[in-house]
Amino acid sequence: MKRLLFGLSLIVPLAAPAQDAKKEIEKYQQMLGEGSPAELWELEGEALWKKAQGPQNVSFEKCDLGLGAGKVAGAYARLPRYFKDTDQVQDLESRLLTCMTTLQGRSLKDATARLFGNADRPSEMEYLVAYVVGQSRGHKMAAPVSHAKERASYELGKKMFFYRAGNWDFSCASCHGEPDKRIRMQELPMLSQPAGAQKAYTTWPAYRVSNSQLKTMQWRLNDCYRQMRFPEPEFASEATIALTHYLAVTAKGAPYNGPGTKR
């Protein structure tokens, strides 16, 4: 990867207009995407999905992600959604926790012991997420907003997106509410509009080359809040699910293309 980056810096003259640099970065991202270690996470995740675990000694193969027990294909493209059994709107990570605690009979403490891993030791959650989202590749994003709780979740997420607070008085919209913004060479998609949300949401979760690791959507939001200097949001809380829901609904109609690969 270092070699690729070096090559890139030779191609881009220092004074090149931002457009040219952007093109080169897109080329680099395409090269990354063609051979992404995210696929290795999908393989590990599939093995974990089928592995019997917990006091009940069962696998996730009967886990209901919204399309019925054990139906994985296309399930992620229709999340977050309302689940009758838990009477709440859930995203993928929260639903996986439900399957761990009900289906597999594990304690919440055990299920949430290691939600974010690191390069040396990725977490079970990251592997499982990689596998499940990979099974939605090509499926059009279609997170529902028909149930009253789904509408409430979407509205809460939207409100949160524009809600300014924290030490720096930031909101998600401070960085992601206007077109053509960037931090150094990192483009900031305008997530309140379909085009930006579609581009971003369909390529997350993603393998981050700089971390050598697959990162989940819950991690992405958690780190955004850290960067905004907010208090740390709770994993799979109503708030993080609502924000995910808002983004997923805004990204409606675009074919899912993850897990992605990021710098």
């Binding site: 070699r3 063609e34 270690p37 040396d120």
Partner: protein, 98 residues
């Protein structure tokens, strides 16, 4: 630690075969505080015959991806890629050219 998964794809072009292989490996460098652990050699075999013997080092990233083009080839050819690291651990994967 047991070696993680590998993944390989071999596709036939006109007069060549494109191979892409993903490996799971920490590729720990001298800069980290952990013991050195990196892949030292990668071997590629086509129908049992060695066609590439590569020596790589710590300069290669964690979870490396290799893409290369072999001359010739035919559908169904067996491509085998294996690696050996400095601790003597190894892993291999085999696939048929599609």
């Amino acid at each position: 630690m047991a070696a993680g998964p590998m993944k390989m794809r071999a596709t036939l072009g006109s007069g060549f075969t494109d191979v892409r292989v993903l490996m799971t490996h920490p590729m720990t460098t001298a800069q980290s505080n952990q013991p050195l652990h990196f892949i030292q050699s990668v071997t590629v075999k086509q129908n049992g015959k060695t066609v590439v013997e590569a020596q790589i080092s710590q300069a290669v990233s964690r979870n490396p991806v290799f893409t290369f083009r072999l001359k010739g080839g035919a559908k169904g050819d067996k491509i085998e890629v294996s690696w050996l690291d400095n601790k003597g651990e190894n892993a291999s994967i085999e696939t048929a050219v599609a």
